[in-house]
Amino acid sequence: MTAVPAQRTPSWRRRRRRAVLWGWLFLTPLVVLFTAFSLWPIVASWWYSFFAWDGVGPPEVWVGLGNFAEALQASSFWNAFWNSFVFSLGALLVEFPLALCFALLLNSVLLRGRNLYRLALFLPVVATTAVIGLVLAIMLAPVGGVVNEALLTLGIVDRPINFLGDPDIALPTLVGIDIWKGFGITLIYWLAAIQTVPKDLYEAARLDGAGARQQLVNVTLPVVMPIAVVIFLLTFQRSLNTFELVQAVTGGGPVFATDVLPTYIYRYAFDAEMAAPRYGFACAVGVLFGLFTLIITLMQSPALAGRLRRSAS
């Protein structure tokens, strides 16, 4: 449909009008669904966050910024906030670089069985988080749990470790499980990034006498870095939204030691154990959570914009 002006006859105009009409007809399902289930909910939860509202009937009791003030003053909120942050730290400091190392290794054609390794590492990504979380909880049980038994048999510990029941150990354990679970997906991101490196760059480097390590530092890493920003963001967003694992394994306990913002919000909005749901308050926490994620994401944006500019030119 690259019509030159000379062709703008009445029939061309009619055809063009019809194509635009059809185009928008094709777009309608997306626009309707996306607006209803993605955009409107964002706006609505901002609105609800100004009310003291239990979710029944229309929201009526306007409390202004009261919910926000309450959340920001509650130590339970900051506890959940901090725990969410710990999950991100784990993902970004351990999973992100470790997956890069594995990707570099598993990208090598010289490594026998590399496809089997990739498959093994990717397996947890495909499996249901909640289900796998429960299975790992059984394996980590202090009595009869297979992990403690192995540690005791090997003589690494002399007393079973209460991985999920001890408030000091539960959070690191969950972060570990989260890394185990998400490792495969980060690995695939990195492998995809490494494959964008043009191979003639390696040939040129080799002609210049660069060894494997020099090729890594001077060819692979510089080319991969712009994509690394995207992988970093994806990993960050995923780790912040750890809900299913925590809810399935500990439900935020023991004594809120593993409570993260998603489980915190869920408790206020839906949990039957609460006397009455506090939708308004839960929405306020959701908005704060969203703002927090947005700020961190925006802090990345100069790097992201740089990448976009580079790929455009």
């Binding site: 997306l30 669904l33 209803a36 495909v126 299975v135 494959q195 998603p262």
Partner: protein
């Protein structure tokens, strides 16, 4: 068992020297890299072991389970656990629900994304830039916690007592990546194809249905798999939407049936876990190439 792409083996690798000229160096590198197996094997064992353990536990008797033990091979095999999970744990019903939920979400995703992707691939469509901009921005604007208004919306539509509402809530926010995949694909289809169809007298809809949609099969395959695996494993959305309707639970949510008020049926739980994980893992093993390539493609673009 290629997990990324068949072309990886052809591509020159960072550590791979040109194959023929200096054979000696190649075998030296190969020997050096062999030592990495010592590191990789235990690591991967750690990744696979929970799955093996889960499957083995689902065949063990309750006694053997309580005694613990590291053996992966059950002493006496039993199928009781699966039977309990299937009937008392209601996993038969839940499997049906999960299928309904996942397939509904899949149909919504594929239809919506392919139509939109085709429309957006026309660069001269007015409003295209706005739609694309909003979609991409939505990827980076955190949804925070929007499940409450979504829940309200589904109630308002009168869909709260069925899986359709849950499927919509599952599928709609995840549309961005499928749409972008389709835009990328249709954008790369030579214009002549569409023009040829038009010369043959096919209209917009006809061109899409009989020419473009069949061409897009590889993308559709990826989208189908991503969507199916995603909703099969979904937990949060089905959990929230079946709070008042236990009979509509999906497999992931149904795991909680094994927790009694004071006892937990661990072997039943393991059997239930196997029922919900094994089908999806098998599906993945068969179609992993499409799936992983799709993810990788989405990252690259």
């Amino acid at each position: 068992m290629t997990i990324v792409s068949p072309s990886t083996t052809v591509r020159t690798d960072p550590t791979a020297p040109p194959p023929r000229p200096n054979r000696g160096r190649a075998s030296g590198d190969r020997r050096r890299i062999r030592w990495w197996h010592l590191f990789l094997l235990p690591f991967c064992f750690l990744w696979v072991y929970p799955f093996l353990w889960m499957i083995s536990a689902s065949f063990k008797s309750r006694q053997e389970m309580l005694l613990g033990g590291l053996h992966l091979w059950p002493q006496d095999w039993t199928f009781d656990n699966f039977q309990r999970a299937w009937t008392i744990g209601r996993f038969g019903e839940y499997t049906g629900n999960t299928f309904t939920f996942a397939i509904t979400a899949l149909v919504i995703t594929v239809v919506t994304a392919s139509l939109a992707g085709y429309a957006l691939s026309a660069k001269d469509l007015p409003g295209r830039k706005i739609v694309m901009g909003v979609l991409v921005a939505a990827m980076f604007i955190p949804h925070g916690y929007t499940i409450i208004p979504v829940f309200e919306l589904v109630n308002a539509l009168g869909l709260q007592n069925g899986l359709l509402g849950a499927a919509l809530a599952q599928a709609a926010p995840g549309l961005v990546v499928p749409v972008l995949l389709y835009v990328g694909f249709f954008g790369g289809v030579p214009k002549e194809l569409g023009e040829a169809a038009r010369v043959d007298g096919a209209g917009y809809l006809r061109t899409f249905v009989s020419v473009m949609a069949p061409l897009a099969k590889p993308v559709t395959g990826t989208v189908v798999l991503m969507s199916f695996i995603g909703s099969w494993n979904a937990f949060f959305v089905p959990l929230v939407f079946t709070l008042g309707r236990p009979d509509l639970r999906t497999l992931g949510v149904g795991m909680y049936n094994f927790f009694g008020t004071d006892t937990t049926d661990w072997t039943g739980l393991a059997a239930g876990a196997s029922i919900s994980v094994i089908p999806i893992v098998i599906l993945f093993l068969f179609l992993q190439r499409t799936f992983v390539e799709g993810i990788a493609g989405a990252v690259k673009s």
